[in-house]
Amino acid sequence: MEILREIAESLGRGEDRRVAELARAALAVGTTPKEVLDRGLILGMADVGERFRRHEIFLPDVLLAAKAMTAGVEVVKPLLAGEAARARGTVVIGTIQGDLHDIGKNLVGIMLKGAGFDVIDLGNDVAPERFVEAAEREGAGVVGMSALLTTTMPGMAKVVDLLGRRGLAGKVRTIVGGAPVSAEFAREIGADAHGYDAANAVERVAELVGAV
């Protein structure tokens, strides 16, 4: 539908008010809130992520697009019924205990929000127990962990292990990332996914919650 494409394009240009107007207009002509979210806002943000990865655009453009995404989500969210009211689900993110590097993690948070997820950012230097407690408390579907230091990577294994012991394995999925973190390491510790960059992390989170 034309208006959904307009929403996606307007979001890509970071036009927050225009995105909200278009979302309202789409609803007024009978488009469902779910369609506005999936085929307008989320599609638009996916394109932003792809162009960011190709270095055609930079962080400022992503930040403005994320703001426009938020403006659009605010219009449709109250109208989404039941389960879907949480838009795309909740993700708890943070850097592992002992790791103060948070640029990558912040970028993932911005892009997850932009993609319609509720994001609980625990900050940096987060103890394994806090990841697990936050995931339980917030009903999060995914826990995302970042590390820049190899010395802190074992903390990721601890979080996976703790979730298992609380009977949350499979209910709360895990994704890991950061400069020294590989897909192989993710498999070794039993994490559900590895994101090799911020845009990829958002794609993998979407797969984990089964809401592509």
Binding site: I57, F58, L59, P60, Q97, D99, D125, L148
Partner: protein, 297 residues
């Protein structure tokens, strides 16, 4: 000791120091603790690190003030103590170098995103950098390094704050670039050309790049700067990019390699060479030797 500007004016190549954080952690800085708080709690540690770099042959040794702006200190509950922290850090570095090197105050990013991307106003960020710059200048810093910047507007605010607080204190301003298929950009999309223009307009006495890249990429970045500006250029590479190993994070560039690439930087006419993440006193010693063998620009 002659000042930075005089030494740059006569074509001297100056050696700056290496990484701060790793040396502090090796001396007991706890994970998650505020590195700048050591100025209040353990100034003796800061003094020792400065002494280590001065002994390695650095001409320019930093005070531990990278995250010392009130905005950056605020999450640790130390925002109101910014002036005190910056002053104590400069004093500790001064004692450590004991007349062997110039002491510079480091000013890193505020940790906040400027409007319209984030929620921080330019006035608020300028005010924060002003508090820091004034404290550094009053404590007698010989220079101010605005470092690791990715947003040109924020970098310019920091330079302006320094120049307004202390017009006589030289300001070196460096940004962090990523290699992309379309050339070098900061994560905020700033090119080398734009960095030169914005930083010079704000009043920087030297411009350049630190962090984010190893020496090979930094030689390319340095060449871009030299092609676009007459202002002295400062380059502080990482010791390569970090790789994982069983023992922890490993930076791949040994001092010998870094020094060999530093010769390429000096040949390009770079005025200040130093190190960033992963570098230590051994790298600085190797840079010192490379510069001494070459002499002036």
């Amino acid at each position: 000791m002659r000042g930075l500007l005089e030494r740059l004016a006569v074509g001297e190549v100056l050696v700056a120091d290496g990484a701060m954080g790793t040396l502090l952690m090796a001396r007991g800085l706890a994970p998650g603790a505020c590195p700048e708080a050591l100025a209040l709690e353990r100034p003796d540690v800061l003094e020792e690190v400065a002494a280590v770099y001065a002994a390695a042959g650095a001409d320019l040794v930093q005070a531990d003030t990278f995250g010392g702006s009130p905005l950056k200190l605020a999450p640790y509950g130390l925002g109101r103590r910014a002036a005190e922290i910056n002053a104590r850090a400069v004093e500790a570095a001064r004692r450590g170098v004991a007349g062997r090197a110039l002491v510079y105050g480091s000013m890193g990013p505020s940790g906040r995103l400027l409007e319209p991307y984030g929620d921080a106003s330019e006035a608020e960020v300028l005010r924060s950098f002003s508090v820091q710059a004034r404290a550094l200048a009053e404590a007698g810093a010989d220079a101010i390094f605005v470092e690791t910047m990715s947003d040109a507007t924020e970098a310019a605010l920091a330079v302006r704050a320094a120049k307004e607080a202390a017009p006589a204190v030289p300001v070196v301003a460096t940004m962090t670039f990523d290699r992309t298929p379309r050339g070098f950009f900061t994560i905020m999309g700033v090119t080398v050309e734009r960095a030169c223009r914005v930083l010079e307009d704000a009043g920087a006495d030297a411009v350049g790049s630190n962090c984010g890249n190893g020496s090979d990429a930094m030689v390319e970045i340095a060449a871009e700067f030299k092609a676009r500006t007459q202002t002295p250029v400062a380059i502080q590479p990482n010791a390569g990019l970090p790789h994982a190993s069983a023992g922890g994070l490993v930076y791949t560039e040994d001092p010998g390699y870094m020094a060999e690439r530093a010769r390429a930087l000096i040949a390009l006419g770079v005025a200040i060479v130093g190190g960033c993440c992963g570098t230590g006193p051994e790298h600085v010693r190797a840079l010192r030797e490379a510069v001494d063998r070459r002499g002036t620009r």
